[in-house]
């Protein structure tokens, strides 16, 4: 059994560049969701998203390199740089065989759209090669490797809402196996017009009177989406600065369709149990849950039922973070970062947007930030299509 130390965190988040700014955003209970001004949402039902603002890529990336990178790559390279700066103060430089495992839910959709625009305008033979090079989902991970000379494993995982947690699971598994001493994991996402409009048209986004994300709330009407990047430095030979990744569980709800959540909460409960057992713990050791809850009717109900099924009446307090930065934000990695900050700061964050649960829901959703003794925090990710990944984040190395 191994616990993998998190020794540095870099964040390019809606409303917060850098882990300290993100910490403040969470402490203030401030949502970064706001009106979409990047593209025209007229004619759509939803008009809100958590977008990156005030990000200056030149602060992180040399101008010559910048031209070769799309938005996703810029977010990811900046987050990686911030993460390495964050741990430089605490540890030694990372070795050459450092691995990279990133998650992204949609990947470079905007680059594909831009490419096809040029293809239509100029012809199939004259579209820009630079756009094609950036149209692969692993371009951000590749840029990070080139930037820092990381020659270990380099993979990009896409599993909808669970992408970043699935990537972290792989990175942790490789370090446990001994493939590398250290790894950089995390996720990256970009909100663009195409994803937004398609999600809106299938009715997935919050609309009407309650446009904000309201995870677990009885008035929730759909998700609000977000973007950005987060990078976590994992190291097997240094003490943690934030906490340890101590267990993972994976399962799938076989009642789900290919693009929606199912209704059998047992699979989510099984994934949570598997993660807890992987960490050699029991449900009673879990002091809090950082929930997947994304404000959709179906997924949130599935999750609270799964929590109640596993923990009974002794469920620990539950924090829903997606009302801060949206679903898909940083490929799902910001939720993991929030849980690590909770463990590091011994603080439970508030769940903005939650006022009252639906009838029958017994779990406690934390409404106001409070100090708490947190040894182990469970992190859930339930994705459309039925995939579930859960992780346990621990304060101590053993």
């Amino acid at each position: 059994m191994s616990r993998i130390a998190v020794t540095g965190i870099g964040v390019v988040a809606p409303g917060a560049i850098g882990v300290e700014a993100f910490r403040e955003l969470l402490a203030a209970g401030r949502s970064a969701v706001g009106p979409v001004d990047r593209f025209d949402t007229s004619g759509l039902g939803a008009h809100q998203a958590a977008l990156i603002r005030d990000f200056k890529p030149r602060d992180f990336i040399a101008p010559m390199k910048l031209r070769r990178m799309n938005t996703l790559s810029r977010y990811a390279v900046a987050a990686a740089k911030l993460a390495l700066q964050d741990c430089d103060a605490a540890g030694t430089p990372l070795p050459d065989d450092t691995g990279v495992a990133l998650g992204t839910s949609f990947g470079p959709v905007q680059t594909s759209v831009d490419y096809m625009q040029e293809y239509v305008e100029k012809g199939a033979a004259l579209a820009p090669p630079q756009l094609f090079a950036e149209s692969v989902a692993n371009a951000p991970g590749s840029h990070i490797a080139i930037e820092h000379g990381f020659r270990g494993f380099n993979v990009t995982v896409t599993q909808r809402e669970s992408s970043a947690l699935a990537a972290a699971m792989y990175a942790a598994s490789q370090l446990a196996k001994g493939s590398a001493r250290a790894a950089l994991t995390g996720g990256v996402e970009e909100v663009n017009e195409m994803i937004f409009s398609v999600l809106d048209r299938i009715g997935a986004l919050a609309r009407g009177e309650h446009q904000e994300a309201r995870p677990f709330d009885r008035c929730r009407s759909g998700m609000v989406i977000g973007e950005g990047a987060a990078a976590l430095v994992l190291d097997t030979q240094t003490a943690a600065k934030y906490g340890y990744l101590s267990g993972f569980g994976i399962a799938r709800d076989t009642t789900a369709t290919i693009s929606d959540w199912g209704d059998d909460h047992r699979a989510a409960a099984a994934a949570m149990r598997a993660a807890i057992e992987d960490a050699e713990l029991t449900p009673g050791d879990v002091d809090a849950i950082y929930a997947s809850a994304n404000s959709t009717r179906k997924a949130d109900r599935l999750e609270w039922r799964a929590i109640e099924a596993l923990f009974g009446d002794d469920a620990p307090p539950v924090v829903a973070t997606k009302s801060y930065f949206g679903e898909y934000a940083a490929g799902g990695a910001l939720q993991l970062v929030a849980a690590l900050l909770a463990v590091a700061d011994q603080t439970l964050h508030a769940s903005p947007g939650f006022e009252a649960g639906e009838d029958g829901m017994r779990i406690e959703v934390v409404r106001a930030r409070r100090p708490a003794a947190l040894r182990h925090v469970l992190v859930n990710s339930l994705s459309a299509g039925g995939g579930i990944v859960c992780a346990v984040v621990s304060r101590e190395a053993a």
């Binding site: 692969v136 599993q159 799938r252 290919i258």
Partner: protein
Amino acid sequence: MRKPDPSTRIAVTGAGIICSIGRNKAEVWQSIRESRAGIGELTRFPGETFPTTIAAEVEPEVEPMLPVAAREAKRLSRTDRLAVIAAAEALRQANDGTATAPLPLERAIVSTGSSTGGLLEGEDYYFRRLVRGRRRAPASRVLQQPTSGPSDAVAQVFRLGGGVISNATACASAGAAIGMAADYLRSRHADVAVAGGSDALCRLTYSGFNVLQAVDPEPCSPFGAERKGITLGEGAAYLILERWDDAIARGATILAELCGYGASCDAHHPTAPAEDGRGAETAMRGALCEGGVGAEAIDYVNAHGTGTMLNDSAETKAIMAAVGSATPVSSSKSYFGHTLGASGAIEAVISVLALQEQLAPPTLRLQKPADDCTLDYIPHTPRPMRMTNVLSNTFGFGGSNVSILFRRAET
């Protein structure tokens, strides 16, 4: 977390494949035996003009091969459909024959590599929007665009409950997906893995490799002096992986052993491989190390062998450094082109079949090897030979490299 236990042996108990030279293992192997490539005129995109005009296509209508109702099939992208067809063959084999107990599907994970996902359908949507504007384009067809589509589709069709993982590491995707799945069996995060890859041809990749000037106007000629680049292909393949002892207990027929894999990154360039082949060498050495064998134990290397100037010379250097210069090497891409995100899975199935049949597939059209390609590339015709350990190489954009070691099943 539990670490992948290196002493846990992984059995391959099923394999499925669809590509331009066949719709299943039997058809594919027949083509391999007969040195019959599946490369012809590009027909998929009528009305579009590209600098090159050939491809390794699977037949246009694959719906009749799908084990699902038409209504359900409508929701699947072409990449999803190819995936479901290959996974169906693999699952059928794992449950057939000597097996006395079925695969425990409730603990089966799906791990798929794909670089395009539902991009083909996404392109239709882009085109309609560019011409007609947003409100008139049907959104339903792009819901399967994410590269996680094929894993979700396979999991849903076969009711698999162990979890879904998708790998979008460009052309190394399926190799990474298979390695990842083996690790999760070794760490007991799952009991069965349906691991593979799928990619359908689409305009963006066809055009993109052309604008990079990486496509050979003639059928590709890996390792050849006159090679000019890749031939684009499409297809899907899956392996069924189980822990060895579980497979024995179930009475399953073991096709081969997956002994290990290595993964690395060149950290050199977004699209070009490092010219010295160092990253590829590291991946192969990683596979040897995990499999606990020395370089001399490798009997055959199923190369990445794309047919580009850079890959084939760098890979040759890497093979010489990691395995030596006496080991026969070939590129099956000379049969079915470069199937991008699926290539690692398609060529893993070819490697398993080669071990079973004790027949190494050749490199077709290799009239004259390049001066810097000095290995034995098994030109023109398949070669019967004794093979115990085989390496399958898969490299991709971003400098990601994966090499998988398969061993002949003990008989």
